[in-house]
Amino acid sequence: MNPTATVLRAGFTCGLIELRQSFTGAALFGQLLWPVVTLVAIFFLRDRSFGASGFTLGTLVLPGVLGMFVALGMLLVVQYLSADREDGTLLRAKATPNGIRGYLIGKLVTVSGTILAYLTILLIPGLIIVGGLDIGSIRSWLTLGWVLLLGLMATLPIGAVLGSLISSPRHAGYISIPIMGLIAISGIFYPITALPQWLQWIAQSFPMYWLGLGMRSALLPASAVSVEIGQSWRHLETIGVLGVWAVLGLVLAPIVLARMARRESGSNVAERREKALRQVL
């Protein structure tokens, strides 16, 4: 077996093992918390109608929430990378031939798998709670598929860049604050057209809005387009903006990751361990 096949297989195996670990035992409760909270919110919005659109807020919000959970994969990557750097997981990978590549493939598998699980956990009860979604056609699922794929490409590499730049997992919280802010103004929980113009422009520069829009275009009936900016699903713009973020991330991530990996050594990990232990005491 050549090194490329070896590392692909090892990476996938690692990803699947860690995916299983993150959905078994006590970890399962942590994984279910946010999807369940979100479903509860959707439950309370299920009968609230939005303006004259003829849709309930619950119907409008559910697809956007799927987009939000895709974007949250970015935070997962940040958390994994910073924690794995601190505890020496990354150093172990570095000490193994092709280990860093295998590690990254593994994380990609784990995070993508986690997001797929979130989407399933949200979608199945969600479809029972809210009506009016267009899920009968192949077109819906194809659109969902490409939005999901492009969304992962736009957000996971950026997460890897952010995760490489922060110095400790305790700083991961600082990164989640602006990301939560962007989600709040991204039109996922309330149509973006209700926001002031300048906030709309900020929201439209980031992937969260487009992920929400893409998911709504996949799952809502055609008539729902009336609540969107310009009464259009703007697929080309979605591909454009998500594509730019994907390219940016895919160019930057290898550079930043290589720089981070180069710096890892036993004494770095030992230093972080001592620092972390001091903070615990």
Partner: protein, 311 residues
């Protein structure tokens, strides 16, 4: 394998490591041959870890030539990486993995670097047994005791059947029992598998037990290099002679204890009682060398002793 037993696997010449204007390592030069167990000894801050991290390819040196298995570790590729083993001090990584699962997984990366001579990786069950973790093979790693975890660290370090193995303070925090077990493991690696081993330690006793050769680092330089016996005899070589004469205790340090005692008897005859000659121990050697290196760093007088050392 016999033919390669003299091969130089580690060649360091004029190694320098500088942080800002401070040299952590200055002109470090040494070699290690195939199958040799080399202990790097020295006080904290002497540059042991820095040296080993440069050899592992985890740290970029400031100057000097370094070759590990014929390759500059700063530019070692993955093929080279597969031939080098590093025993890391684990903390809480891979806590949810099971012992055998992790050994087997990390081993799978080495499969494509297997050769006729060296079959990689080590079979996971055999290896888990070799480090004495068979009873815990399916345990979650976070539930292992400290000593068990370190044995797992060793297993992971050798899963690719390395030709050269680095251990940075491998027994720090071990109880005597775990230390003994660990020493047996290192012996079998060196003898049965002819693995070249470089380890750092604070523990003189450990260095003496494990290593074919001991190198003492002090003030960023190698201040001594040789077998435990050589170091004790050839560098400081001061034995301690104690005796009683006329009810009074005497103590004298001398590097020619036999001659001194002969002189003593010639002069005082049977008046000398309770005679005791204590050979210079490795510990005495170590302490005096480190003391010299730390107190006289700028004078560089103490190197006189070292020039006589075999390289």
């Amino acid at each position: 394998m016999m033919m390669t037993s003299k091969e130089v696997v580690l060649d360091v010449d004029g190694l320098r490591m500088r942080y800002g204007t401070f040299d952590v390592l200055r002109d470090v030069t040494f070699q290690a041959r195939h199958g040799e167990v080399l202990a790097l000894l020295g006080p904290n801050g002497a540059g042991k870890t820095t040296t080993i991290e440069i050899l592992e390819g985890f740290r970029t040196r400031s100057a000097g030539r370094v070759e590990v298995l014929g390759t500059d570790p700063a530019h070692g590729d993955q093929q080279w990486r597969a031939r080098v083993g590093v025993v890391l001090q684990s903390w809480r990584d891979h806590g949810k993995w099971r012992v055998r699962e992790l050994v087997s997984h990390l081993g799978s990366y080495y499969a494509c670097y297997s050769t006729e001579l060296i079959r990689r990786p080590w079979d996971a069950d055999e290896l888990v047994a070799a480090v004495g973790l068979t009873d815990h093979a399916n345990k979650e790693i976070r539930k292992l005791s400290g000593g068990q975890r370190r044995r797992l660290d060793v297993a992971i370090g050798i899963v690719g059947r390395p030709e050269l193995l680095f251990l940075d303070e491998p027994t720090a925090g071990f109880d005597p029992q775990a230390r003994h077990e660990f020493h047996k493991l290192v012996h079998s690696l060196a003898q049965d598998d002819e693995t070249t081993i470089v380890l750092t330690t604070h523990d003189l006793d450990e260095a003496e037990k494990l290593a074919d050769r001991i190198m003492i680092l002090g003030g960023g330089r190698i201040i001594a290099d040789g077998t435990a016996a050589e170091l004790a005899q050839r560098i400081v070589g001061k034995d301690e002679v104690r005796w009683t004469r006329d009810g009074q205790r005497f103590v004298q340090s001398t590097d020619k204890s036999t001659k001194f005692v002969f002189g003593l008897f010639k002069r005082y005859g049977e008046a000398i009682v309770d005679l005791e000659v204590r050979r210079a121990s490795l510990e005495d050697t170590y302490l005096s060398l480190v003391h010299e290196a730390e107190s006289g760093q700028s004078q560089a007088v103490e190197t006189n002793n070292l020039e006589e050392m075999p390289r």
